[in-house]
């Protein structure tokens, strides 16, 4: 059947609410407004105010509340409108959620899920276009999911809730209206692992989130590029990358985040550390330009990796 990324997220949340009474949804405008991106539309009526909580503009406050509720035995699903505003909750996420298990000598766990949209490309300007998934992936103690397609969007919350740790789910805003064919029942394959989206022999393209579809489109212009969707940025599935690079001998990383000190840098380093002698070319990276994302359409397009940029780089590397 056909399903949109948004409906897939909706299905995931409803399944969670239906199957576990400890689950509740809390965030700004998740209730009466129906969700900033209409993901939770109608849920307040269906599940009532004891499951769906319209939170005040207090990202740190309700994220901290979520941590406490998780410590207290509930399964909170916190929605932060967008990654941009998650910075106001960063202290709670990093200094408490991520650290508590280890810092308490393994006594306390924080089974907290935080969902947020991410990414640029909608001319929303510099403060609403961040892509900080890679940043969060820097933090030990967190797990980071980046559903890039409808099937993953459908299962990400299930994966997150079956894990007793803080899990951040980054839903790419540009994907919400994507419609794809999916099986009737979610297949829920390989949580927290990467997937080869397209087999190939000549080059390995490693990407995640909003860049997956773009990369696939670019690769369709070539006969034999292998595309890996990381799906989960922490823990990072190094093996799937190494196995592919050992076969293709060339690696290209496509990352919507900034380049310096980034996830793409980390992946490149890991390939170098483990597959140095397999490489026929230096690892290459395509990332967002190191500027705040501008408003003007042409500038924004130039700042964020596009299909043509990816295709051009592949062509260079295959030459």
């Amino acid at each position: 059947m056909k399903m949109s990324y948004r409906d897939a997220l909706r299905e995931g949340i409803q399944t969670a609410l239906d199957s576990d009474p400890r689950v509740f949804i809390m965030g700004e405008d998740v209730g009466a407004y129906g969700g900033t991106y209409a993901v939770t539309k109608g849920f307040l009526n269906k599940y009532g105010p004891n499951r769906i909580f319209d939170a005040p503009l207090s990202e740190a406050g309700f994220t901290g509340l979520g941590i406490g509720a998780a410590l207290g035995g509930l399964r909170p699903v916190i929605e932060i409108m967008t990654v941009n505003f998650s910075l106001l909750a960063l202290d709670q996420i990093l200094n408490s959620a991520a650290l508590l298990h280890h810092m308490s000598g393994g006594q306390f766990s924080v089974p907290l899920v935080i969902r947020m949209t991410t990414g640029g490309g909608r001319q929303l300007g510099a403060q609403h276009s961040h892509s900080l998934e890679g940043w969060y992936a820097h933090i030990p103690g967190l797990k980071i999911l980046t559903p890039s397609n409808v099937e993953d969007a459908r299962s990400s919350l299930y994966f997150a809730l079956t894990n007793p740790n803080p899990v951040l789910i980054f839903e790419h805003a540009l994907l919400l209206n994507t419609i794809e064919e999916v099986p009737d029942q979610p297949c829920r394959i390989h949580p927290f692992k990467g997937l080869v989206k397209k087999q190939g022999e000549d080059l390995t393209l490693i990407t995640y989130g909003g860049m997956v579809n773009r990369s696939l489109e670019a690769c369709s212009r070539f006969s034999s590029v292998e595309v890996i969707d990381l799906r989960c940025l922490r823990p990072l599935d190094s093996e799937i990358i190494f196995n592919s690079v050992r076969k293709t001998h060339k690696a290209l990383i496509v990352d919507e985040g900034w380049r310096s000190c980034s996830l793409s840098a980390e992946i490149s380093a890991r390939i170098m550390e483990t597959c140095f002698y397999d490489l026929h070319l230096p690892v290459e990276r395509i990332c967002r330009k190191e500027v705040p994302i501008p408003y003007a359409r042409h500038l924004e397009l130039a700042a964020i990796p596009q299909v043509d940029d990816i295709a051009l780089k592949i062509k260079e590397m295959l030459a």
Binding site: A55, A60, I67, G68, G72, N95, G105, F108, N163
Partner: protein
């Protein structure tokens, strides 16, 4: 107050004092390292509050939390071992002085980010409420936290959603070296709670009976009304903020004058005057405490170090 209860209060306050003074000695011997924040002078506050809490209640505190952990039931020996960085410490040497934790005793830390425990306590109380568990949640913080935005977010959330949590502000007048008047335009802290429609009351944190009385009122209000409560207790720390504080911001005279209202001295005199205790019995208490301290230090000393090979353990909870 029965005399037994009063003796227990005195014993606990004396024990906290001794634990803190001993920690300082152990710090100079380099057995304890890192930051060390002592509670000397403030003993009546935590002792009064904790005397009304039960094992199943939730407590969150700051980095100045040795006493809170102790009175919540965390064994002195495991607190000491934690400060020594040992494997039998209550956080397996991962936490240290500022991050004491005990799941068994529902002691949720030990948070060293000013204000960060407040929303989490709201969440704990939220969980108890929604699970219909009868359990109080109490969060302690210094008056410094009142300046943080998270203080206001937390009070608003608790008030808006009728979450029964007790906020306890330990107002010792200084946040490190910054006095309340130099950091807040409004120094009447109860007013800050009132703007969020949270019932509030101020009390004398140097008087254990006043602390008990005010806390009792808070507990019964919270239980009955299922709403939050804000308590501010004025108190004073006799020692520097931590081990790295030359105390340039206050005078010796000021400290000495506060020492006249030493909460332990006050309780002692109170009990002696009423013949609820004798000097001999107090001496016996001191000896008993000394014994407990020696045992704890011995335990901490003997406790093995965590093997470095376990360093990366406990980063994630295992999936069942």
């Amino acid at each position: 107050m029965t005399s037994i209860n009063c003796r227990k209060l005195l014993f606990e306050m004396m024990m906290i004092r001794r634990m803190e003074e001993l920690s300082l000695e152990l710090y100079t011997k380099e057995k304890i390292r890192g930051f060390l924040h002592l509670y000397v002078g403030q003993e009546a506050l935590v002792t009064g509050v904790m005397s009304l809490l039960r094992k199943e209640d939730n407590v969150m505190a700051t980095y100045r939390e040795h006493a809170h952990a102790l009175l919540k039931g965390v064994p002195l020996s495991s607190i000491m071992a934690e400060m020594f960085g040992k494997s039998q410490g209550c956080s397996k040497g991962r936490g240290g002085s500022m991050h004491l934790f005990s799941k068994e005793h529902r002691f949720f830390g030990g948070n060293a980010i000013v204000g960060a425990g407040l929303p989490q306590a709201v969440g704990l109380a939220f969980a108890s409420l929604s699970q219909n568990v009868k359990r109080n949640t109490v969060v302690f913080f210094g008056e410094g936290a009142v300046a943080e935005g998270i203080f206001h977010e937390s009070l608003n959330l608790a008030s808006l959603w009728n979450i029964p949590v007790i906020f306890i502000c330990e107002n010792n007048l200084y946040a490190m070296g910054t006095s309340l008047e130099r950091s807040q335009a409004q120094t009447e802290l109860t007013k800050k709670a009132q703007v969020h429609n949270v019932i509030s009351q101020a009390g004398d944190g140097m008087d254990v009976f006043d602390v008990i009385e005010k806390t009792r009122q808070a507990l019964s209000y919270v239980e009955e009304k299922k709403k939050p409560y804000f308590l501010e207790f004025k108190t004073y720390r006799f020692r520097p903020h931590s081990m790295f504080d030359p105390e340039l911001y206050r005078s010796k005279k000021e400290i000495e004058s506060w020492k006249k209202s030493d909460p332990i001295l006050k309780l002692r005199v109170h009990l002696l005057d009423r013949e609820m205790i004798t000097e001999v019995e107090i001496k016996k208490m001191e000896d008993d405490i000394e014994l407990l301290m020696q045992e704890a230090v011995l335990f901490a000393d003997k406790s093995p170090l965590e093997p470095v090979t376990d360093l990366e353990k406990n980063l994630y909870e295992d999936v069942l």
